[in-house]
């Protein structure tokens, strides 16, 4: 099959990996948020809604103030606020975390379009000028390294941030006392409480962090890669991020590899003007791969023990 040969050839190009990394980062940020949240014992399927909210408010803020950094901050806060709702409902009120997550996603989809209507009337959302988006940065010198220079050092600023967040998340989760606490709260909240940890505080911080990261990803999507808001522009990425988190067995680097696999799939598809792949069958691929992983073909994928359980002080 020549198509297969073409794909293999593509996989050797820096262009492909550059695009794949950018696509992966859009998924990585919410996926890392999911890892942190679920490691603390709060199931989070609300990344989609948090990301969409972040995307919307980044554009609103950028159009108002013409400052991408401020807009990104607004997006991060907006994502964090959505996460706070999830935290209050599922930690404080001990609601079913999945129901709360679904509600956040529906809420975000409805609210963003409703607000477009209230803010911009029947007009379209405007466009962010080219200098008002999140910038692409060539790391001079390093970008001259063959292959890796283009892939790693010729990217949007958010890609660098995401890679730093990736390493930081790994170190914090597995090399620090804070990480130990997060994991303890996610595995044995009762024991953690007995040991003097504030289970609620840890879970709140973890869930809100997931919102901040999802909001950042939304800003990357809206004012980094695009320059405007389109209703439902996140297009299910929050759910693919969820898949990546599971695929990666609730570890930061595992999630990253999963995101990269999905990113490569997207980048290969992007070449459909030269290689003809069925877009529909390819679009199914991340989901089918995740099902295969869940089926145990590539080893068991086990969530943290107390994932999804509301913590009730004093209970056993």
């Amino acid at each position: 099959m020549s198509a297969l040969g073409d794909i293999l050839h593509l996989l050797l190009t820096a262009n492909l990996w550059q695009a794949a990394l950018a696509a992966a980062v859009l998924l990585l940020l919410p996926a890392l948020g999911g890892v942190i949240s679920e490691r603390s014992g709060v199931v989070n399927i609300a990344m989609e809604g948090m990301m969409l909210t972040g995307a919307f408010f980044s554009v609103v803020a950028d159009l108002a103030w013409h400052n991408p950094w401020l807009a990104t901050l607004v997006a991060i806060i907006a994502g964090g606020l959505m996460a706070t709702i999830h935290a209050v409902v599922s930690i404080q009120f001990r609601a079913d975390q999945i129901v709360s997550g679904i509600a956040i996603n529906i809420f975000a989809a409805g609210l963003t379009v409703f607000l477009i209507n209230r803010i911009y009337g029947l007009q379209d959302v405007g466009h962010v000028g080219p200098t008002e988006g999140l910038p692409y940065i060539d790391v001079h010198g390093l970008d001259q390294i063959p292959f890796f220079g283009q892939v790693l050092f010729n990217q949007n600023v958010v890609v660098y941030i995401a890679l730093i967040v990736l390493v930081a998340t790994h170190i914090i989760l597995f090399r620090t006392r804070l990480g130990l606490r997060i994991r303890a709260v996610g595995e044995h909240p009762q024991a953690a409480d007995t040991a003097g940890l504030n289970v609620f505080a840890v879970r709140y911080s973890a869930v809100i962090t997931s919102g901040l990261l999802s909001g950042l990803s939304g800003a990357f999507l809206a004012i980094g890669i695009s320059n405007t808001f389109v209703p439902n522009m996140t297009d299910g990425r929050g759910y693919i991020a969820l898949a990546a988190m599971i695929f990666g067995k609730w570890t930061p680097f595992g999630a990253f590899i999963a995101c990269l696999i999905f990113g490569v799939g997207q980048a290969v598809y992007d070449n459909n003007s030269i290689i003809h792949v069925s877009p529909y069958l390819l679009s199914m691929l991340p989901y089918i791969l995740t099902l295969v992983v869940l089926a145990g073909v590539v080893g068991r994928s086990t969530p943290p023990a107390a994932d999804g359980l509301p913590y009730v002080p004093g209970s056993e």
Binding site: A95, G110, F200
Partner: protein
């Protein structure tokens, strides 16, 4: 309590409207008119609005049941959407392939075919859950997406496409169609409009029957007892001699059959062909709210489905009459979900808005699924 949740959602929704400079009274009177045909001021036909609401309600009942039944077994079926799509695909494929068969043969074939396809789709999640412990929330989300893309594959340049570029399937045969209650006649006038505008079809009775079957199965059969036992505690159920694994798989199969039936009824009763609209359909997600709000009882589910059908139908009237985006309906729906899940009303009534001091019991309104995750994470049941 569910009424409290709905009330809570409408109050918060009104606040959002006021904050964004819209008049909640206009919005809600639009919803009321469009939803139930009450208090219409701008020439809407109440019978038509009610008829539309019922049309929207039919699939919500059947998928609502498909979410509510697994709830009782401690399973969270987020996959009603994908199962419904699978049912729609099977119904369409059979209805096209055997288009010439008479109603008495073809109609049962398409409905049962839809149920089988839905059961298969849900069964994948059930088997994965029962054998390797894969969480059904995640597997059903993945299966939803697979079903969506399957539809695009089939009707955009795929094997079911009518003709190139139409993005829809061939129509199903006349024998595969469910009859409407009123004759589909443009010349007969009913309530001032042609009879054919009232699209309520026989699927309504099938949906109501499905709700009745659900209640009977759950409360009057030994299998229903097993479902509830597994939902209360897998450990206790195992001690009582219930096969948890078998119960999980069977429950998902039955739930999938209900969802698949919903898809088949939509094709058979309303659309008669598979179109791109199924790609962005959300009935199976609305069903989650229906199941939660209906407290898992047959009557509750029917009433909750009616509420969401009314909201859906009312949104459009609200938009054209009051100029308020119909997306408000989504906001209200999310608020209802938050409110049921968090039991805000209960917390407020107990005067204990925040968690630490609340008595350590889960809200009774919540289905037993609320506690399922621990067992989901545990090693799969029944190692044998």
């Amino acid at each position: 309590m569910p009424l409290g949740s709905v009330l809570f959602a409408f109050v918060v929704g009104a606040l959002i409207l006021v904050v964004t400079g819209a008049n909640p009274l206009d919005a809600y009177s639009g919803l009321l008119c469009g939803g139930l045909g009450l208090g219409c001021t701008q020439g809407e036909n109440p019978a038509l609005e009610l008829s539309n609401t019922i049309v929207f309600t039919i699939p919500l009942i059947t998928t609502g049941v498909a979410v509510a039944l697994p709830f009782r077994a401690g399973l969270f079926n987020i996959g009603a959407e994908g199962q419904m799509l699978a049912g729609a695909v099977a119904c369409t494929a059979i209805g096209i392939k055997f288009a010439d068969l008479p109603t008495i043969v073809l109609l049962p074939m398409v409905l049962l075919g839809g149920m089988a396809a839905g059961a298969l789709w849900a069964g994948i999640a059930g088997v994965l859950k029962a054998t390797v412990g894969a969480h059904e929330v995640v597997t059903t989300i993945m299966l939803n997406y697979v079903a969506q893309w399957l539809i695009r594959f089939l009707i955009v340049g795929g094997p079911l496409e009518l003709t190139s570029g139409t993005s829809k399937s061939h129509p199903i045969g006349a024998g595969a169609r469910l009859a409407t209650l009123l004759p589909s006649d443009n010349t007969l006038t009913v309530f001032g409009l042609p009879a054919s505008v009232y699209r309520v079809h026989v699927g309504l009775f099938i949906a109501l029957a499905a709700a009745a079957v659900f209640a009977f199965l759950l409360w009057r059969t030994s299998f229903g007892y097993e479902i509830r036992a597994v939902g209360q505690s897998q450990k206790a159920a195992r001690y009582a001699g219930v096969s948890v694994r078998r119960t999980i798989i069977l429950t998902m199969l039955i739930a999938g059959a209900f969802s698949g039936l919903a898809g088949a009824i939509q094709i058979s009763g309303i659309d008669h062909n598979l179109t791109d609209k199924y790609f962005s359909d959300t009935t199976g997600f609305d069903a989650i709210a229906v199941a939660l709000l209906g407290l898992g009882s047959a009557t509750g589910i029917v009433l909750a489905a009616l509420l969401f059908g009314a909201l859906h139908s009312g949104g459009a009237i609200m938009q054209s009459d009051a100029g308020i985006s119909s997306n408000l309906v989504l906001v209200l729906q999310a608020l209802i979900l938050f409110s049921i899940a968090a039991n805000f009303i209960g917390a407020i009534r107990r005067g204990l808005p925040f968690g630490r001091g609340v008595t350590p019991t889960l809200p009774t309104e919540l289905p037993p699924a609320a506690g399922l995750m621990s067992e989901a994470a545990a090693p799969p049941p029944e190692k044998t």
